[in-house]
Amino acid sequence: MTWLGFAEIAAYMAAVTVIAWPLGLYMARVFTHQPTGIDLALGPVERAFYAVCRIDRTKEQHWTEYAVACLVFNVIGLLVMYALMRLQELLPLNHAGQSAVSPDLSINTAISFATNTNWQNYGGESTMSYLTQMMGMTVHNFTSAATGMAVLVALVRGFARKQANTLGNFYVDVTRSVLYVLLPAAILFTLFLVWQGVPQNLDPYTQATTLEGAQQIIAQGPAASQIAIKQLGTNGGGFFNVNSAHPFENPTIFSNLAECMALILIAAGLVLTFGRMIGEDRSGKAQGRALYIAMSLLLVGGILIAWWAETHAGALAQGTMEGKETRFGILDSVIWAAATTASSNGSVNSMHDSFTPLGGMVPLVNMMLGEVVFGGVGSGLHGMIIDVILAVFIAGLMVGRTPEYLGKKIEAKEIKLAVLCLLVFPLPILILGGLSLVLPVGLAGIAAPGPHGLTEVLYAFTSTSANNGSAFGGLSGNTPYYNLTMSLAMLIGRFLVIVPTLAIAGAVVGKKIVPVSAGTFPTQSGQFIGLLIAIILIIGGLTFFPVLALGPIVEHLMSVNGSLF
């Protein structure tokens, strides 16, 4: 650990904040339908969208209608993606002659992309045709991110509005997310990535003859346009098998810095959007800033622990570059690992499975906290607001008052729904994970011996339930058993959280706003930030400490004493 390294971490966080800030304010204008500066160009396109799709932009939706729209839209997208993979053999733009994807892998991948998880049980360049990558993967990278943003905006409207009963229009929110935020950002980022060396073509795979006379086939494709949005939309499903470790997916230190910033940027900006939408009569800016600080502290804490673990590997030190790229070295690999799991991006620039036991535990724990440390585009902040509701509830119990957040009374119904969100998340991890550790079909997929093998399974179900998508890649997940169980985990982790979240939005939107009084618990203070962080860590700790003790912790303690497996 060097001073230069600390400076790098500080520079990274500062760079993210400098861009997230104006972006957040811009997004607030997008979602409150104020002039954005590019309406002249995009307004006609947007109106054409609504005309073609028969969307009435003035019609607001009740939370139930909003939730149904969200589910129907996602199911249709999922079916299209499934069909593309099953039929890719017959469709154009299949230069590498990829055959139809198997049914269970197609189900897994379609659900994976629809839920913003982007778990890869396939190798992009060896499984998917260019058409599938473009019309399947790339499209879902946009729509699943837009879905997350829409749900978040609906929840924020729930708190922002006074005694209303609608939350906005799902289709309008999705359309505006794509047209005004994701697409322009992706176009700029694509050009940057191509400049740095990411391929963007429809060429067949290149045949090269090396200086030693050997043949090398080099995979090509429309990579940059997909990688741009997979980073920005916290999707994380790579164009190539090894994701952003691939030198075509992430060729330079500069591209690495930009991709590592992109994977957190929109989620970070949305925290500031939230503050702006709440408004200054409830000190919205300070409220947003408090959440931003809490998230930043948790992220930096994770980076520091992983960095320490990877640079103090003891007897394992000679192996610490396993799964890491030379150009990123140890520090840029751990910053990415922490950021990609704190946000629910899940792209990787190094192989978490080959980290030291404690270094690998950091990405795992980040996901176990529920992807609320910036988290997914939209989904991260709506998860965080659930934790905030719990925090004000606990604070309310301590002082014996009805809890409030942003002037809205938090009552039994909201608490029940928030607890439902929190309880749903660990279920697939602990139940399906536990099942996989006793069933022969589950055990068959494990590569690593000893406690590390348990961690591989634990990581897979945590990653899929948290809709992250990064992996301890040693696990052979492309089997019918794992494809289907992980699909279930992804669906539960996404939609069984979205629906109660929208229900909370529907419940609070109708409430009046209580004016601030001496008895109001301030939710923008340093004290509240501390309480919130403590609650997030305690909930995660209580739920997962026993299984962590059996995996990475025991592996660390034994390896320190020289035990190998």
Partner: protein
Amino acid sequence: MIKQLIPATMLTLVLTLICGLAYPLLMTQLADKIFPSQAHGSLIVKNGTIVGSSLIGQNFTKPEYFHPRPSATTVPDPNDATKTVAAPYNAASSAASNAALTAKAQVDAIAAASDALRQENPASADLPIPSELVTASGSGLDPHVSPEGAKYQAARIAEARKAKPDDILALIDGKTEGKLFGLFGAPTVNVLSLNLSLDERWPIK
């Protein structure tokens, strides 16, 4: 539910056309015009043949070339399609080992790779071995080694090429790329670029 089907289906369709066709195809056109070399994979052509990509690592085994890191990429076993066999630097199927550092097999593999490296480079046997020379990269296609990783091999190459060791070290220094803004990433040397220079300056007759 039913009345939601029309807008949901139409929106999916329109977004698929815009984000799935118009956007990637427009980007492909633009990339081809603005950054033609990068858009097609930064390929290196020598005497009319493509010798590789400046971004993608290649396998070098002869003593007169710099060697890259170990690679975990594979190809399907020709005798049994359900299995794979090692094929280092297979750029049509990137892969990592995903080995656990605490696995005995992994510790043994690193020790064996270190022994082999010392035997190949007897003049450097006393130097510490940089970790990346005995571990597989995340992609299996890492085009770089660290400057120390290249210098470890300098004496062997000087001997095979009948060049002065100092000239080889100077070549490595000249090809070393430092940290970005003095802060981010790690210093690297591109192996293929080194080897192209070797062939130019000290050709093997």
